[in-house]
Amino acid sequence: MPKLLPKSLPDLDKEHWKYSNVNAVLAKLELVDQKPLWEMTGAFEFMTVDQEDTIHLIIPKNRKVDKPIDLKLIGEDGKNLHTNVVIDVEEGANVKFVERQVGVGAYWKNISIALNIDANAQVGYYRLCEEDPFCVVTEFMTVNMERDARFNALVVNGCSGFGRNEFKVNLNGAGSEADLAGLALLRGKQHGDTTVCIDHIAPYCKSSQFFKTILEDQSRGVYQGKIHVYKDAQKTDGYQLSNNLLLSPLAEMDVKPELEIYADDVKCSHGTTTGELDETPMFYLRSRGLNEEDARHMLIEAFVGEVLDKVSDEQIRALFDDRVKLWLK
């Protein structure tokens, strides 16, 4: 596993795009390297290798793991933490992961996850964070999906000072389906970047991206989403939607939805909205007796709820509800 180095991180030159300059932020921190800090529950029987900076899990063929595997990645003040996670989910297996990002202080946590989902296997991946507002977190997840594989992901970001959360999904096998959703909750001077690229390589695959951001104060959100349909990926069904809510005149949201299509029999859609809370529903609620604060609250919770509804597991949903409530106060 190659070491993750700052020189490969996105910056102004690499992306030809003004968004997330990770190197510039890291230059302001004085950090020393440290072994990754993590805790995991519910997974030791699946661990194969525990190298210095790699966590490797294999979920065996046709195995249904009942309880979600809980992976906690911990940040520590003044440290560079690079973690590699490799997960092989074998044919017909079914597993859910809850990844928690925690930490205190100014640190850089750089995580690379390779998730290989074999034929007919199903994976749910849920990420929550309770980071420090001074930290930098970069996370890159590659998902390789074989025939009829299923991948559902929900990420709630926005507690780090500077975060970039990247997904690269390769739909290699026919009939595979990836459903990605996320919520970025940003305030203060936080920067939250969500970058997604879904490669439709095989035919009859389906993908969905549903991402929302709420921005307060002087925060800045980024969403770059791409659906890339290869020449042979006929009957592709690709969906992409980004809705963003600006709650302060000083907040900034940058959105770049992209479609790149080389097949001729596909269905792809993308859409994006960025704006303030609508006056009309606000007035409707207030005319029914809700004061301004309660009405705002109700509309923001509704905005968030549409994303959280993607989680069918009640216990996992409750974790997200708590996290979001905490943010909303």
């Binding site: 529903p281 029914r288 301004e292």
Partner: protein, 246 residues
């Protein structure tokens, strides 16, 4: 009950309400009819306090309370209710939760205790039945995916739950067929009470066959130009507005 004196109001600097006077006594139903652009919906938004509708003169009092000094939610707490011409869709807010929050907000601002979940559901159950509202509809998000008739019935349900003393119905009959209209009108008639008044804004005389008003007003160019009994509505239906408004 409601006393409006010499009211003037504008939107984006354009005067729409031009010195309107209106008095509705306790228990009365008044209808306001008028051609397009007369200021009918503007009047309903001005009274309920929507942003962008600027009052430039005059007064509006509900049982002696100066409505114009209050926020929209304070007006609701004072007993004012507006049934919207176009009820607003709110994705992600479930009907039951919406009704409960609204009711408890109003109770709270009146200094009453919040309703327990069970008491609330009992109350809801009784009122929804009369309006032919299925349980399934209350599990959906507010007005999302509702038909035209369902939206209007939902407005009347909210009215029944919040028990206001003054109700404005803004073109509640628009877009309804005769069956849907009857259900809505029955719902409204059931709420008629000696201590509750209605202002029914409508484009069509038809509604007034089902909700029979005590007084009919004709609104034109932002003021009331003629008032009369229910027969005035029939006259308007037959002759049109041209004669009266000219």
């Amino acid at each position: 009950m409601l006393k409006i004196k010499n009211l003037t109001a504008e939107i984006d600097g354009k005067q729409i309400i031009n010195g309107l006077d209106l008095e509705v006594k306790s228990g009365e139903v008044h209808a306001i009819m008028g051609p397009n652009g007369a200021g009918k919906s503007t009047l309903s938004y001005v009274l309920s306090g929507r942003d962008g509708y600027k009052v430039t003169g005059g007064t509006a009092e509900l049982d002696g309370v100066d409505l114009l000094a209050l926020d929209p939610n304070e007006r609701a707490a004072a007993g004012l209710f507006l049934a919207f011409q176009y009820p607003v869709e709110i994705p992600g807010v479930q009907m039951t939760n919406f009704l409960k929050t609204a009711l408890n907000s109003i109770r709270k601002s009146r200094g009453e205790s919040e309703l327990e979940a069970l008491d609330f559901l009992k109350m809801l159950k009784a009122k929804q039945k009369a309006l032919d509202i299925a349980d399934e509809m209350l599990k959906r998000a507010v007005n999302v995916g509702f038909s035209g008739g369902e939206k209007k019935r939902n407005e009347v349900l909210q009215m029944a739950m919040l028990e206001p003393k003054f109700c404005i119905l803004d073109e509640t009959d628009s877009g309804l067929d005769i069956d849907a209209l009857k259900i809505v009108a029955d719902g409204v008639n059931r709420l008629r009470a000696p201590d509750r008044s209605f202002l029914v804004i409508t484009h069509y005389q038809r509604l007034l066959d089902y909700i029979v008003p005590d007084v009919v007003h004709v609104l034109a160019k932002g003021k009331i130009v003629k008032s009369g009994g229910p027969e005035l509505a029939k006259e308007l239906e037959a002759k049109g507005y041209a004669e009266i408004v000219a």
